[in-house]
Symmetry: C2
DNA sequence: TTGAAAGCGCTACCAT
DNA sequence: ATGGTAGCGCTTTCAA
């Protein structure tokens, strides 16, 4: 940069320092008081006479001083006054995800209670398309073989976010985004996905919940189940999933659910082949439709589908319908999440209810607690890692599931 | 300067500076390189040899250094990497507001495109109930009679938010929150409400839109109209509104709509008394119901209701139904916003469509442009205040409006 | 390429 | 109640 003037050393014309914006010291100088006094006028009204205070405030306004600079205050004070949230997709997609919206509402309630702001941190670097940055990164770290390195290029927004702590929402363990967040040395709360003992975790018992869903279907006589799965690893990929990839799953939530489905099948004496899994690339209705079409189009057509989200389930219902199949007459469908809309689909969706809003509130409270501990434990050394919480989940049976056509 | 031994008081045990967290200098010292080099290793890979770079990164990790501190970077660099959003109510209520959610989605898209984060700033100070802080403030500034002062106590979150600019969503001109935001000396974009020439503004032509809605009803033969209004001033208050309060309205959006309704009535030769206005305290269904009950319970019962939001309209429909009135047989109802749900109410809602998502995107782009200008115009003096945008709106006629029962 | 120095704007601490 | 001083951790000059 070849700016010339800028360091306009000579002309303190209006008491403004070089950058154009006046500073607290400018106001102090103008008034012939100390900087401290001006600072107090803004944040400690009881530390100076009301008369002086209003004099200071008036001068500040006259000079166009907008109050203490937040960045400086934050540097000095060591706290940002904000919590970050990291979502597993573009933020603008996040607003299509009803479960996340509920989560965010709960989180917001907890966070605003504490007078903090909430920072939505975009996952992608500017200009790069969705998975690009992640794949680049993926390959980079494969090359150098540094697990959890992630101190490379991307994710600038995450690395420069001025926050006191971060809520990590549903990220696979091997997502470089997660490694980057962890490397920030701030408290984290992990929601649903990575299972890292050093951070608080808020979840449900995904394995048990999934098992309950599968047991429900098996109890109805179904013997051939199709699973529409969320991503198994950070590297998203659409298609049928074999045992090998399942074993290598890095998305703890997905893995736990698959394990629950399998456990139910095993307990009922079903062969491993009676559960077929198709992985989706995104949690959207079209992806659910695509996966369902694949499952229902193959041989050994399942009589029931277990979707890992209500959105996927809705897509599955659409696919079944397009194939001329009746629900639940020909195919039963179970969702996951119990988002509000799932009560009013046709037929209403049998699904696993979880309390998204409570999850958000819990996550917020965990993070706040961690911040608090961090303050207290300053030099006591031991940062009492808050345990986190496991919230209840339960199967809600509605009209989208019924007896297996083959067992009748 | 009388620094002694680099503040290295006595125990440089693990190369960590006092606060517990290691700093960039600690890493540099450990490695015997300059701080500059470490900094470059993180953000300017091309400025040093790959070998050294990975050495630095490795050491950083070993020491537990989490990368450049965002607050310091932000202070030094003068940019925050985030845009703030200010909503006219508790943030947790914001998630019940479908129009705002759409807005936020659009805003997010624009903002993440630029690689910035989005900061949701809570309006209330911790612990104080909704309107308390505002009323306190209201009275305070009434006392000293400083219009737009607001350099007082509350709104700490807003004043300490580390942001490059702020989107102000639908705030009355006299809301102290707005004055506080304006005093921050950062670019603002005003959405829907305050009309301050010095900031960019994104809106629709509220007056024309409201007028179109009223004309539609008048065209159907309605001669007695009830208006369910949003807040007229920062000081919210439920109840009937007289001409005096209308004249004193400080919420530009509300005022414009009332003006549009009145203009339509006047143009049709209706007496001023044929338009009755009830103001609500919040944009919620129950408030709409409450207002409608008041309007429909009085004498000179209106045959049509003009609600300033779809949520209010939905409440109005409920109220009418409870009073045993048929819609649109006995009463017609018009909403405002055309949120997705309004197409599937019973009956489907006649409403004013506006493009909330586009509004959000526009707001984001205006703010980004303002930031850009600000950089460029640094010393050119003239911050070319971006004009903003006026988006289209149009009436969508559905089943909730029909001919006046009296004109048949 | 690398090193040294000078702050960005603020507030906690020490004095008075 | 008020004034001085020393950094918070970083990056951007300048010089080598």
């Amino acid at each position: 940069m070849d700016r010339i003037g800028e360091a306009d050393d000579r002309n303190p014309r209006r008491g403004a320092s070089r950058k154009g914006r006046p500073t607290l010291r400018d106001v102090a100088r103008e008034l012939g008081v100390s900087a401290q006094t001006v600072s107090n006028a803004f944040r400690r009204p009881d530390q100076l006479s009301p008369a002086l205070r209003s004099e200071v405030l008036r001068t500040a306004r006259r000079l166009g001083y907008g109050g203490p600079d937040p960045a400086a205050k934050s540097l000095r004070g060591g706290r940002a006054g904000a919590l970050g949230v990291l979502y597993n997709d573009r933020l603008s997609h996040a607003f299509d995800d009803p479960a996340f919206m509920l989560f965010l509402r709960g989180l917001t309630a907890a966070v605003e209670q504490a007078g903090l702001s909430l920072l939505l941190i975009p996952a992608e670097s500017p200009g790069s398309v969705d998975s690009d940055a992640r794949q680049m990164h993926d390959e980079a770290s494969r090359g150098t073989r540094r697990p959890g390195a992630a101190a490379d290029r991307p994710f600038a927004a995450l690395r420069t976010a001025v926050v006191d702590g971060i809520v990590v929402y549903s990220l696979p363990d091997d997502d470089p985004l997660y490694a980057t967040a962890a490397s920030r040395n701030r408290p984290l709360v992990l929601v649903d996905s990575p299972r890292d003992r050093s951070f608080a975790r808020v979840t449900i018992d995904d394995e048990a919940a999934a098992r309950a869903a599968a047991e429900h279907l098996i109890g109805l006589g179904h013997r051939q189940l199709g699973v529409i799965a969320l991503e198994l690893t950070a590297r998203r990929r659409f298609g049928p999933v074999e045992a090998e990839r399942i074993a290598a799953a890095t998305n703890a939530m997905t893995a736990a659910r698959l394990s629950g489905y399998a456990a139910a099948a095993r307990a009922a004496g079903l062969a491993p082949e009676s559960v077929t899994v198709v992985e989706t690339e995104a949690n959207t209705e079209p992806e659910g439709e695509r996966a369902a079409r694949m499952l229902l189009g193959g041989d050994a057509r399942p009589t029931a589908l277990l979707a890992m989200s209500d959105r996927l389930a809705v897509g599955a219902i659409a696919a079944a319908r397009e194939l001329g199949l009746d629900i639940p007459g020909d195919v039963s469908v179970v969702g996951f999440d119990n988002v509000p809309a799932s009560a009013s689909t046709t037929p209403p969706l049998t699904t696993v209810d979880q309390q998204h809003e409570a999850k958000g509130r819990q996550a917020g409270e965990c993070l706040l607690a961690a911040l608090h501990d961090g303050d207290a434990a300053d030099d006591s050394g031991t940062a009492a890692a808050t345990a986190g919480a496991e919230l209840p989940a339960r199967l809600v049976v509605r009209g989208s599931t019924g007896p297996s056509p083959r067992s009748r």
